[in-house]
Symmetry: C2
Amino acid sequence: MTPLTPTELLTVNNWRYATKVFNPTRKVSPENWQALQQSIALSPSSFGLQPWHFIVVSSPKLREKLLPHSWGQKQVVDCSHYLVCCTRTDIDIPFIEKFIASTAEQRGVTTDSLKGYQDVVVDFVMSMTESERIVWSERQTYLALQRLMDSAALLEIDTCPIEGFVASEYGEILELPAKKIKASVCCAIGYRSEDDKYATLAKSRYPVTEIFTEV
Amino acid sequence: MTPLTPTELLTVNNWRYATKVFNPTRKVSPENWQALQQSIALSPSSFGLQPWHFIVVSSPKLREKLLPHSWGQKQVVDCSHYLVCCTRTDIDIPFIEKFIASTAEQRGVTTDSLKGYQDVVVDFVMSMTESERIVWSERQTYLALQRLMDSAALLEIDTCPIEGFVASEYGEILELPAKKIKASVCCAIGYRSEDDKYATLAKSRYPVTEIFTEV
């Protein structure tokens, strides 16, 4: 693909905003949705471990159930696709072994040839307590969230990241603990309504000179 | 800008990889670097708070000093731009007030008109302990990291995210505590070397069917 120009890049970055009002009648096409799912799947993560899982809430009933536990944010019910970005709570040695086996298979090599890599990953991961591992894994889930938001914008699809929800209630409604995952952050995906006054608000950002220091 | 096609999006996603060997002679142009800085500045964050700061380590001497505290990863010294993505450790009421004042100025409204918003932010942020606030803020820094990696790829610039470093040593060398920031994650930026065998390795990823569940 031809690279974007700096101007094109910043145009996309400025086009994206946290959409507050979705057009409930406009849906993301199956072709675009498949691309977004694949784009998330290709997201980087520490060691490539992918310590995440994504729940697509399609059932209108379930969305209605989640709404009161989402600060009443209507995006939950009005958007085209509502995604609950979850983090795995079982990042341990068996999980790493499964990842190494999967990598070996995809690269057509033996797991033995990846033993050195596996040892590095195990040492790093298991040096953390269980709760530290979840904190660390949740940061990876945020990489996937940003990948999703920017990939959507490149396809001219709107998103709204949602941290304002009650994770324990989501867990119960979506039966997440049984899946060994927890809800970390959500994302509403679809198309902005013409009525969303936030679409034209100036972005509030600190200037580059304030957030960068060169040494 | 014309939206990308799904194929173009996935081509860029597949082009990106964690670059292990940089071409030390090839530098990111000032024009592209400015665009990347601006792209990071435009990155989303919870409430738009931007709880981050970025240290560009240009001094070869400083990079050499960081190398032994970076698992000896040569990307630190060989890349064009080496960025230490930091998280602010002073996310408190004055920080929020400053953000609200800055937003009011950029939108040409009074701070009073943003009082309701300010209260929501203060309630949310101050309900967390100081260490929880840092954990939460670090997740935001990871959004900026992913924004950087994908924006670079769109400009056909390579990156390598680096978690393998000793944050306390980085803090001392770069005098981060005095700036009320901590090193969360690093990113080497530049151009892949033709010798980097990792460039052509098949990505190891779980299939979409395994990481997505529809309900």
